[in-house]
Structures are given as C-alpha cells and as structure tokens.
C-alpha cells in the first residue's frame, strides 16, 4: 500500500521498489549507516553482521523455495556446504582464485539441488521434507568420505580472497564484501518474485492443480525453485568458507537447516523482508543466548552450566512455537501493520 497522497502515474512508478522520496531517503540513510558500521563497532559485531549476511543469503534461497514456491527443504545447510566445498576444492587443488570459484560454487550447488529436487515432481509436503533430509545426510557423508577431494574429516583450508595486493583478511574488509554480495542477492530475490517466474512460484504454492490448469509447467518451476534456492545456498557457502577460512563437515549441520526454516516463519515466510527479519533474529538470538548462558552460570554457581546452556535451545524452540501459534505471518506482518498505521496517520485508527 502506498502512503496517503501518493499515486502511481506510470508503469515505472508502479514497478518501482523504492517509490517515494522518503523511501529513497530511508534507503540511502540505511546504506550510509550500514557501510559506516565498521567505524562504530568492534570486530565481534562485524562478525555478527557478516554471519547475518551469509545466513540471510541462505535463507533468501530457502524463502524462494519454501515461502514462494511451497516446496519444503531440510537440506539447505548441506547445499551451503556444497558451495563452500566447491570453492575450497577448486582453490585448494587447482589453485583457482576465490573470485573464479564464486560462479562455480553457485552453479554446482544449484545443480546438486536440482538433483535432490527431482523427488518434488512426485511428492510434496512431509514426503518432500524427508527426501531433502536425505540430501542433508548424503551430502555430509560425501564431505566426510570424499578423500583428497574434500579432505575428509580434516576438511580443506582456503586462502583469503584478494584483488591484486588487497587481501580480504580482516573482519572489516569482509564486511564490505559480504554486504555488497548480500545486497545484490536481496535485490535479485526481490525482483525475482515480481517476475512471471515469481508469480508462477506463488501459483504453484497456492494451488498446484490450479496452476497447472492455468498453463504453468509444474515440473519446470519446481525444479527451477530448487535450482535458484541452491544457487543462493552456494553463494552463502562461498561467503562462509572465505569468512571462516576452512571447510569442515561439522560446519554444515542438520540443525542449521531446521533452524533456518523455523526462523523463516519467525521472520515471515513468503516475503523478502521476512527473510531479512528471520536471519537477523536467528543470528542475534543465538548470540544473545551464547552470551547470556555463561553470565547466568556465573550468577548462579550452584546450578549446572548445562541447564543454562539448554535454555538456549528451549528459548529458540519456544520463539518458533510462539510465532507459529500467535503470529504465523511473522515479524514481517507486524512490520507491514506498523507501516500501514503510519501511512494512514492520522486516520489509522
């Protein structure tokens, strides 16, 4: 909904993501604030921002697949791993530069995702979730038993990316790299869902039979959704491996896949803003819990540390449960209500 007094007078205006001067102002202010962040905050907060960045890219992919196209995947962490290991293997064994490995990370993850998306042509819902769960186990098995190619249990290390003599070897430098790529991926995702493809995804999600009657090729769009989802995962994997510096099978656990899905619901399934809210709240909640549990342990020395650490899992699960019950449309919906209230002011009641 547009702000009161704002009308679309042309097709360009109708299609614009950023429509009003206020929105432009807010957007530019946000960019200034974002890129000025390293001037204000410590390495630790930049690390969190970087983690949010690549988590967001992975969750955007999952959002396209699950939120827009209605296909469930519990293997996203493994697909992130495919992107990471592709970059690591090409860099480690063939000496490729980080930049050359980026498209291959994305495409390889996309094609692997395509293979595991094939069951989507025959099954859906719970059964599809089970097949993607299989992907999580099979891919991690491949990482563990890939011999020299994947480094097996010892993983693979990568060199930091560099442009000429400029090496991305600090959190600050990585911040700019990760944020630029994340913004590009957000922009791509935002535009994708407004295209014919995006509308086809939504049609498949809402009623696949009706979509097929309308002439939408279900097989094509379901597989395309898997491909795009995993391309995002591949990019996220590329960012993650160069941020951490090594690929190791334990770094792509099943729980990541499950939490990401849960926090997409918290953020708002089926909306790009929702994925952003989801990624931010997921990373920040985990961090908050990680900081809080030792503090509680120190305040109450008589109680087991493990009890407070377990609170983290309880809180994370509780947050998802509360949102599913009380606000299944997620934080994104609350944000839309807030914007609506503001735009209708003074008539918002």
């Amino acid at each position: 909904m547009l702000p009161a007094g704002t009308f679309n007078m042309s097709y360009e205006q109708d299609m614009a993501i950023i429509r009003t001067r206020f929105q432009w102002g807010a957007f530019i202010t946000f960019l200034i604030a974002l890129f000025a962040l390293p001037l204000y905050v410590s390495d630790h907060w930049l690390t969190l921002a970087n983690t949010i960045g690549y988590t967001l890219v992975a969750m955007l992919g999952l959002n396209i697949l699950t939120g827009y196209c209605g296909q469930i995947s519990i293997g996203q962490a493994a697909f992130v791993g495919v992107g990471a290991y592709t970059a690591a293997a090409l860099g480690h064994h063939l000496g490729w530069s980080a930049w050359a490995t980026l498209p291959f990370s994305a495409i390889t993850a996309g094609f692997i995702g395509l293979i595991f998306g094939l069951p989507a042509l025959r099954v859906k819902g719970f059964y599809l979730a089970m097949t993607t769960l299989g992907a999580q186990f099979m891919i991690l098995y491949a990482f563990n038993h890939g011999g020299k190619l994947t480094g097996g249990i010892t993983g693979l290390e990568v060199e930091r990316p560099a442009i000429g003599g400029f090496v991305f070897d600090s959190e600050e430098k990585f911040f700019y790299l990760i944020m630029i790529i994340t913004i590009v991926m957000v922009f791509f995702a935002k535009n994708l869902v407004r295209t014919r493809t995006g509308r086809a995804f939504v049609a498949v999600r809402d009623n696949d039979l009706a979509a097929e009657v309308l002439g939408i090729n279900l097989s094509y769009y379901k597989l395309l959704a898997f491909f795009i989802c995993c391309v995002f995962a591949g990019v996220a994997g590329w960012l993650k491996i160069y941020h951490i510096g090594s690929a190791f099978p334990d770094h792509y656990p099943l729980m990541d896949s499950i939490w990401w899905l849960g926090f997409l619901i918290v953020g708002g399934l089926g909306s790009i803003t929702g994925a952003i809210f989801g990624a931010v709240s997921y990373v920040m909640l985990l961090e908050w819990i990680t900081i809080l549990s030792p503090m509680l342990g120190n305040w109450f020395p008589g109680v087991s540390h493990q009890l407070f650490a377990a609170l983290g899992l309880l809180i994370t699960g509780l947050v998802i449960a509360v949102f599913i019950v009380f606000e299944p449309r997620g934080i994104h919906h609350r944000w839309e209500l807030f914007k609506l209230y503001y735009r209708l002011l003074p008539f918002s009641y």
Binding site: I32, L39, T154, H305, L345
Partner: protein, 473 residues
Amino acid sequence: MKSYRERFLSLNFYNLKEITMTQRKVIRAALLGFLAVSLLVTPLLAACTQEAPSAPAAGKPDSVKVGRLTDLTGPYASISPPILAGFKDYAEMLNKKEGGIDGVPVEVLWADVKQDASLAVSAYKRFKDQNVLVMSAVSSGLTFAIKKLAEEDRIPIVTQAMNMSLYSPPSDIVWANNVANPGETLTQIIWFDTQVWDRAKMGRAWKIGFLAWDIAYTKGGLPGMYKYADENGIEMVGTEIVPPPTLDYTTQLKRLVDAGADVIFVSLCASSSGIALKQMLELGMLAPLEEAIATPGKIVPLLNDCAFYIASMQAAPDAAKFAYGETPWGAWHEMDKFDGIRQRNDWMIEKYGHIWHSVEEDEGSYNSGWNCMKVIAAAIERAVGNVGWANLDGEAIIQKGLMGLKITENLVSGDLSFADYEGDRIGVELVRPAAWDAARTTRLPIGDFMRVDRKYYVPSYTPKKPHPGMYVE
C-alpha cells in the same frame, strides 16, 4: 474519562492529528537529514577526539583472559560439562590459592557454541575484542573453525582436540593438551597385543574390528591402528562407520563377530558406547577377559577416551565390567602417586564438599579440563617471566611460554603432564590401559604408563590388505 491514547494525543506539543501532510514531510526530511549527518560526523568527531593509542602499561594488567569454546548443548553435550568445570576450577583454584599468575587473576571467558562454526567464530571475535591471550576448545571441529583466524591473529589454541590432522604438520598455533587419537587407541591395542593375547598359546594372531561414529574425532585413531596392525600381523576384519547418533549397532556388531573379530574397538562418543555395550551383552558377545579370548563368538570391547566415561558406563553397568579403555590421568585415589591429584582432590572437597558424585564430575574429563588450564597458566607464567607483563601477547606466549614448556610439578598424569615434544604439538603422551571401576564409577588403571611410538601418529594410512568397510582418507 479520556483514554490514555486520547490523553497522549491531546498533548499540545505533540498532537499528531494536527500535523499537516506538509509538516510531516518536513519533519521526516529533518529527521533523515539529522540521522545522515550524525552518521557521517560522529565517527569523524570520534576520530578527532580520540586519544592516541598509548603504549602498553608497564604495570600488571587487572586480569589475564583465556577464552574457552565448549559444547554444552551440541553433540559433545554429555562430555563437555566436566571438562569445562575442570578448566574453570583450576583457574579459580589458582586465583584463590596463589592470587593468579604473578598476582594477576586469571579470567575465563567461555561460550557454549554447540559445535557450530559460525558461533565459534563469533565467540572467538568477542573474546579477541576482550583481549584474550590464549584460546581453548573442546573438540576438533571447533578448533578447525578458529584455527585460521588464530593463525592470523597469532593467538595460541591449547585444545582437547585429538584429531592428528590438527598437529600434522605441526603448527605453533594448535597445541594438544589431551592425548591425540593414536595415543588413546594404540595404548589399548598394544596392551592387548603384548600383554593379553598369547600368540604361541592361541596359535594365531588376533583379529580386530573397528566400530566408529562418522566424525573427525572417532575416526582419528584408524590410520595409526591400520599401520600397527599391518606391521604386527594383526588382521583387520572390518571397519564399521555409522552416522552419529546411531542407537542400534546390532547389525555392525554381528557383522564384525561373524568376520571373526576377537576384539572390537568401540570409537563412539557420549552414551552411545553404553548402548553398544548393552547390545553386545544382549547378543551374548561379552564375557570375562580370559573366557572372551578363548571362546569363539565372544569379543573384548576396547573403548576410546570419550566412550569410556561415567555416563556411558552407567548406561550399561552389567556390560561395563567387561569393557577396557585407557586413561592418561591419575585416578582420584592415586593422590599419593600424583601431587596434582592431591591438589585437585583438596580443591574439590573445599569447593564441592566431595569428590566424584555425578556425571558432571566425570573424572577423566574433569582432569582433562583441569590440566588444560594448568598448561595455559604455566605457559603464561613462563612467558611473563621471559618478556614481562608489558610485552605479553599471544606471540610471546607461543614463543616464550609454550615452546619448550615442560610441566613436572603437581602432575595429574605420568612423568610429564605436558611437554613440548620435538616435532609435534602433542603435549600429553603417556597413557595407561584401564578397566571400569564400577564401585568408584571411574577408570581403574590396570597397567603402566606407555609411550606409543611416534611413527604411529599418522593422519592417514592405507592398509596393505583391504578389508570390508576399510576407511582411507
């Protein structure tokens, strides 16, 4: 009676209803402008007003910080708490009894990072921002996650990680406080080969099967075992690798016994080893040592370090009496033999009022954490003695603290609790075979300390004779 909202809106200075559209636009533009200018100007002002970085204070710091990554709610949840308790307790004891290191208290910063690489990196950065001098981690996965960063920052990691790849080739960043995989595995194999199995009497060499979780730690002992088996005529009849946390091992166990195994090396984690032992008992595979050796279809279970601990043994008390493992540490009743055990026992009685009453106080794990902090404190103390507090940083602790460090006092282990051995970073290498002491719910050493030949400390090895399930990197 006006509602709160009406009262709020009726305030003259902020009556939203009376703000016109133009006014709203002006207010928004002003707010945005203010925000943008603030964002640009504040860092500049901050930069101008910032004091020049001062040289490190010549005096002593308020505290010396050590970072610890642990896993209280992840895959290692059942073994990490006692390790963390031991780690923190040593620092607490040091602060209380000796006023810390050279009068400076030791502060332990720790985080439960659930074996998650992103959380590990984030916690590492948080600790680095707080000027930690040494990092420590509970597992190979967490150590791998921060190794690259620590190398770049030159912050040493003294870790419980046992995977040989972290130490081969040796770096000056990752230091093992625990026994590496080949040490824990081969101690038992060599004990069985040289002291239990009589080849002349039995008329043949013995056969072994290997059952492991598919993670770095549990598979880490395989290469050394393969190499030892090849060189000593021991037949590997099968390698069974299962995904964690498998709860039914009957198929794998039957396959290994059918293949003729005399011994099954159980390389699992947490309570899974107890489950595997229970299933061995139910399948009729277990018997006292002499009978197990002499009877076809019976096996001797040898357990790795993380499998041979209180929770797993209490999960299968009837089967535990047939199991064997190892221990690099002194047992709680050996205080006359090890000064460090007496020191630790005294501390536990002072702090807790008892010794070893719960799973959280698993002795081997607690000692491992205790010894880890002891190594770190000794390295810091040594570095301070060499370079002084003013020049103390991670590099100084590596070069002047850890390199060449040998701990010979207040031992919780054999001749040395920690030593910087030539050619690698495996600090603790003396290990004893052990049985399970059900009465004391702890490991009971049953032999002398052994030093496994370093030629078996290999990160990979291909057996000369292939066998079912053979695992090669």
